[in-house]
């Protein structure tokens, strides 16, 4: 299923809210949690990560992965956590509003 416009950032931020992850793990986690419904377009993932990093919502560090290889880990910054809150609220409002319209009889 394709992601609606603008939700990729939200999903990345949410995925990182539980702890630092590297890029591949982010896409895997979203895939798994959504019960394989959401497929992260991999071509957009890394540009998005670098964009969020530049906005200082996430920070990156190089660390060792579980199989002991060099991997780039992303984590939420304070600003990123605040941004996530705002985006979740906005999303909730949006879905509620869309739901109301769709329930129209």
């Amino acid at each position: 299923m394709n992601l609606p416009q603008g939700t990729l950032d939200l999903l990345i931020l949410k995925a990182l809210s539980l702890g630092p992850l590297h890029g591949w793990a982010i896409s895997e986690r979203i895939h798994d949690v959504s019960r394989a419904t959401l497929e992260i377009p991999q071509g957009s993932l890394y540009p998005a990560l670098h964009r969020l990093e530049r906005r200082k919502w996430i920070a990156a560090t190089w660390g060792a992965s579980d199989n002991n290889r060099r991997a780039k880990y992303y984590e939420l910054t304070r600003a990123g956590r605040k941004q996530l809150g705002e985006e979740v609220d906005a999303w909730a409002k949006l879905t509620a509003a869309v739901g109301l319209v769709l329930d129209m009889t």
Partner: protein
Amino acid sequence: MWLRALFRRAEVERDLDDEVRFHLERETEKYVRQGMMPAEAELRARRAFGGVERIKDDTRDTRGIGWLEALAQDMRHTIRGSRKRPGFVLAVVLTLGLGLGANTAIFTIVDRLLFRPPAFLNDPGRVHRVYLVERHDGSDVTDGHMAYTRYRDLARWSSAFSTIAAFQDRELAVGRGEETRVMDVGVVSASYFDLFDAHAVAGRFFSSREDSVGAGAPVAVLSWTFWQTRYGGRPAIGDVLEIGELRCTIIGVAPPGFTGVDSDRPVAVFIPVNAFGVHAGFFQHPTDYYLKYNWQWIELLARRRPRVSLSAADADLTHAFRMSVEAERAVRAGTPTVDVSQPRAVVAPIQSGRGPKASNVSRVALWTSGVALIVLLVACANVANLFLLRSLERRREYALRVALGVSRARLLAHVVTEIAMLAAPAAMLAVGMAVAGDRILRVLFLPGALSTTITGDPRTLLFAGIVAVVAVCLTAVAPSLEAGRVNLSGLIKDGARESARGGSRVRIALLFLQGALSVVLLVGAGLFVRSLYNVRTMRLGYDVEPVLYANLAWRGVTLSDTQRVALSHRLSDEARTIPGVSSVALALTVPFYNSWSEELYTVHRDSVAKPDRFTLQAASPEYFHTVGTRITRGRSLTEADRAGSQPIMLVSEAMANTLWPGQDAIGQCVRVGADTAPCRTVVGITEGIKQSSISDDPGTQYYMPIGQYNPDQAALFVRMTGDASASAETVRRRLQRLMPGASYVTVTPMRDIIDPEVRSWQLGATMFVAFGVLALVLAAVGLYSVIAYGVTQRTRELGVRVALGAQVPDVLWLVLRDTIRFTILGLLLGSAIALAAGRWVEPLLFGERATDPLVFGAVTGILALTAAAASLLPARRAARVDPNIALRAD
């Protein structure tokens, strides 16, 4: 991050690589765990990820540094590539450099003639030259010159201007004795200095009190240059300097660069207009210059008030002019009414080249800048072709890069970067060329102008920069289109070898364009060369090269008429003793500098309607031999024709035909000056001379013995056996020794008198030939490179053809087809443009139609020969293709 990205590029790139690789590895592992074969898993992972390079590119873009980094990458790539192909780089830099250089060099001239306002001038957009238009015999006559009285009227009766200033450049003798030199003197009103934002570097400018009407003070302000050369920068305030008839006290020195409003005639000294009017003027009575209207010697500058439009200024000034004409009618009988003369005034830009009386030189300069642009176009087309050829070799590289996910925009940026990087050294070369060419151009266009340093001139550098950018854009069009059209599927498979045909249409089109533009320039060159030839070989009615003109100025000495006559004879005798002098004559007037006329009366007509049409000369018997005017019939002047002997005259053929059509002029009687004057018998007929215009002079002159007409006003003509110009200074020194007191001699070669009259043709010929040859060489190089490249690319094809039995002529035909098309189409297109443009050039030509078949024929020959020469080498190579070698190349 931004800075880190810029400065630690390598590290950032490596990080990105690592990150992407890590991702792909994990993805692959995942698929392997699901049971795929490793190779299949990797492929799947890659496919899922998409184009690696494109994603890296996108990621780079999000860092905000993408373009800068891309630029750096392209530049490094260009430099790497350039090192490998110095010949290509040299060709591009030289070609663009020549094109840009031609434009930069000509810009410095056009700028000075047409655009650059005089130094120090305040708000130049509102300062105007004033021209007066009056109707004479049914046609409007525009003149920038007027009487001082008119200037006062216009200043008094107009209200649209905050400052009105009178000025006039006059050549006057400056200094005394041996030091005396004729220089440009700025005769200006005190208000003139108010137009400028300049302050005297020593002393002061003159005040309105020193320039009061009827009582100008003899004071002078030196130009910086004159102060430096004559006084070596020593304090000069208070010194006396002789200027023309005036003994002036120096009161100030103008700042460097303050040299008046005409860039081609820098002023050496400024004096008050009223001082000149009172003491040195043309009139007998010192009040005449500001009360009468018949000495038209002043030019006007006027500063428009804020919020006054150009048309309002014209209207205001026209109103003042009409009132002035009414005032003139009160003091000058015979002045036509305003209804007849319909006087009107126009304000024009300060640069005289943009006004209604623009000289032919500024027109030719403008044409020349158009020509320079054409050269630039040819150069751009050429460079574009070179890049196209190169991009053909690199098609595979481009195709691969596109396949790897490099965007087309990125590819275009790369092409533009490459061209721009080569244009930078070309622009530097251009400025260098302009510096070198400036001296030559200045001598041609602005012989009097002071030099300015081009390298330190922001206008020229800015111009060079802008033209370079435009050239890069023009040049980049074709190669960019080509790069944008890269076709993925076929190319990678095919390899580079056989893919040359695709872009050839663009290249051929560019080649035709070059050919056509060269033809246009060559036709122009031919027309101007023929014009110049016509001017040079035209019989002026006198010789130019061997003749010197020596003018005697009786400044500060009071000699009786007889004393002057005696002195002028002593001067003639002295001149005859100078080595190299073959003959010396006395005469009253010299062509182009001055002319005299009198009213004439003949038996059949009591007055010849327009006395101005016949110009008179009074001369000694040696005159005709000295200047070279031929006598076609009758006799010459002799020693016996002196004061008191029978009054005689010679007339030109044209004058004889006008006065006595169908009759014999010899023996006719003419009364000169009054119908009561004694009868002058015509004793000889002469050829007509060019008296005041090279192109249309009626050639109606008559000659009287100088003993019978104003012998005290004589000047000397000296004929040399050798180079007259080189002897001018020797002759001047020898004659000056005999001059009493402050009086002085000026010696001018006839060449210097005639040259300004033929300068526009000289210029046109020189510039068109120089640029035409340049364009042709560029086009030839372009043709050569395209054909040579084609032969290299098609060696295999030619080899196959030869193997299959093609003969040498068949091969040559394949190679030369483009050459022949280039020649024919270039000629057709170029000739069409040249014929269309001819209408506008024709007025600048001399004795030459813009459609001269001789010129077009010659250009055809030159183009064909050049094209043949350019394709000779490649054709020979093609003819020698050995199928064995060609086919084994793979």
